[in-house]
Amino acid sequence: MKHLIDSTDLTVEEIDDILDLALDIISDKERYSEACKGKKLATLFFEPSTRTRLSFEAAMMELGGNVLGFSSADSSSTAKGESVGDTVRTVGCYADIIAMRHPKEGAPMFGSMVSEVPIINAGDGGHNHPTQTLTDLLTIRREKGRLNDFTIGLCGDLKFGRTVHSLIKALSRYEGIKYVLISPNELKVPEYIITEVFEKNNIEYKEVTTMEEVMGELDIIYMTRVQKERFFNEADYVRLKDTYILDKSKLKLAKDDLSIMHPLPRVNEISTTIDDDPRACYFRQALNGKYVRMALILSLLGVTV
């Protein structure tokens, strides 16, 4: 049985197949509208989420399937002290596939070790978020027409930003991509990403602390939010939260065909004044998230249309 815990669980071929399937769904939605009739998706969200949970649920509904689940640990048996293992085993009796978000790193991995049905990691703490990565890959493919030969800037919280870690790992398997890592010193990417992804694979990267010095080099800028919930100390959060704000003045330094991505939700790191700029693709990215999750559900359930 196949699970999706880490973006690197999928081979490049499997990722390309999922993206191809997502593109096919986009081109002919009607054909897939009953593909998962009679199937159930359980969304086990031990941590609050809007976009990810609703996009999973919308994805399953658009495939003709049903959804069940909970949206916070307080409304599950976790509040009574039930273990993750027991919750997953129990829900596996009721659902055909599980999407799970948990504040602790590795919780979906443990779930997959005890589960009788496929588990999708819908985000585990600051660790991984592979379906966001698939969303990002689909977005890059749709916006740029390719998944190789570009320069991507990753900006903001690169330490706790799980979307960034997953995306770097997934993109590292494609050719000709240069990485520009833009973050304050306190929020730099973890050392293991540098040594085990960039250096091990001889990938070109650089670390900088300001956006202005690199804006003109970028084909894609991937903005992230400084996440309050990842800080043990609120004073550190307050000090770092407004470090980078992408606005019209910074965009003047950018290429005409820049793609501005953001996993959302944003707070103030992207000024709303640039939302109408054709280079802003973060809301198209959110829509892509639904299509790619439809493709992933079909793929893990082994459903063909």
Binding site: G106, A107, E196
Partner: protein, 137 residues
């Protein structure tokens, strides 16, 4: 000081000086009901000083634990007073319940009865990573 020679059991030799008690602890040798000799700072032509552990009982030694502590330790199986087998150690590819993950954000910090598993990700620098959170050991 007289240390009896072993008739049936195991000798762990070439333990780095000062590490015998770590080996004793990590192999949980305190659970055994047999005599165990712990020799510390024994003179060694190769190592200068070394520690030796002699376990006077047949015992299924956890080679992964030993390999993790020090892959240069030699393991000799003794039967009827003779060495019948010498086992070679290597850095284990996977550690199961040998060490605990110390990352407070890891699922292992809250889930009961979860196996603590580490995979060897960098042999040269002896880096092990928790399979759940990827924190290194």
């Amino acid at each position: 000081m007289k240390i009896e020679s072993i008739q049936n059991g195991i000798v762990l030799d070439h333990i780095s000086a000062g590490k015998a008690l770590t080996v004793y602890h990590d192999l949980k040798l305190d659970k055994l009901d047999c005599s165990i000799g712990i020799l510390q700072n024994v003179r060694s032509s190769k190592m200068g000083k070394k520690d030796i552990l002699k376990i006077h009982q047949e015992y299924d030694v956890n080679l992964d634990v030993l390999g993790y502590i020090d892959p240069n330790i030699t393991v000799s199986i003794i039967k009827d007073g003779q060495t019948v087998e010498k086992k070679k150690l290597a850095l284990p590819e996977r550690l199961i319940n040998v060490k605990k993950c110390k990352n407070p954000r890891c699922i292992t910090s809250v889930e009961q009865d979860i196996p603590h598993i580490f995979n060897l990700t960098d042999k040269e620098n002896r880096v092990y990573r928790c399979i759940y959170c990827e924190a290194d050991k």
